[in-house]
Symmetry: D3
């Protein structure tokens, strides 16, 4: 602990993931004062056809964020 | 918020997913009185070899629900 | 399965929860053609001080959804 | 209930999964005194490139556990 | 890893939790051949008014499991 | 999306939470190039009596991280 679960759209490169876990870990260390080694992160990649907002699949939206 | 996470067996069609998020969103709106746009849904598809009941994998059951 | 996890702000009444699980279950049954008895729901109630959007706690927003 | 969600590295055989759900279910039954049929388990398999400790991806570690 | 998330009804004693994490950890070690120290467990306690089956809150059932 | 779920021990102040969601959101924006407004965070606070490592409750450890 702390443990972070990051859900994001699939398609990021390994370098983006590397940078993500590095920067987010630094942020948690700075905010909470815990050792970096205690910060665990898991990344979960999702598809836009498996997410919805307002009753509409994100893959069916004209343009999604 | 509200956010719904729906776990179901894999293998549904896009049309079933479309219908699912539409009907479930309508149900949440009617029950809680929130705007549809606030209702977020994520779908997670699982395999029967990764689920168990009574200590037995669902893929090993004679017939599962 | 299907299993639904509903995350919403705390403070709903028992009657709202009753109505929510009834309507959402009906929606899943209609969309996926599964028996109602197979639909499991878990409700998780959260506080606005434990959620953020755009780097700001929801409890600090002028008015949140 | 009880429901268990087991997150582990991908790559286990079906026989390991079979053994895992059997032994874990037995453990829960013995500890809590619930019927085995009430114990539900879901397995989630993850990749080391989607996990980090100390700001470093597990796939980048020299040797991980 | 492996990480286990155990969802169960609230009301268990500390001794039951102690026994639960001990027995479940032993089961995972035996099934997967990992060191006990790698097995992490988190317990989540829920109320029957926040769970439903077949569209009915578990707290409204005549007798629940 | 991205959505982050942060699990940490209970007992942090509102100011620590404020700082946490601000710094973590900034980190995600910098790493992934998404608008800050798309970054959602949920915080889940846990007790050491509901977590275990190596089959021992964290509340029973001599000194935990």
């Amino acid at each position: 602990m702390p443990t972070l679960r990051i859900e994001m759209w699939s398609g990021r490169t390994m370098d983006q993931k590397r940078r993500l876990v590095r920067l987010v870990t630094d942020a948690v260390v700075e905010a909470l004062g815990v050792p970096a080694q205690d910060v665990q992160i898991k990344i979960f990649e999702g598809e836009k056809e498996n997410a919805a907002r307002g009753g509409v699949l994100r893959s069916d939206e004209a343009q999604g964020s």
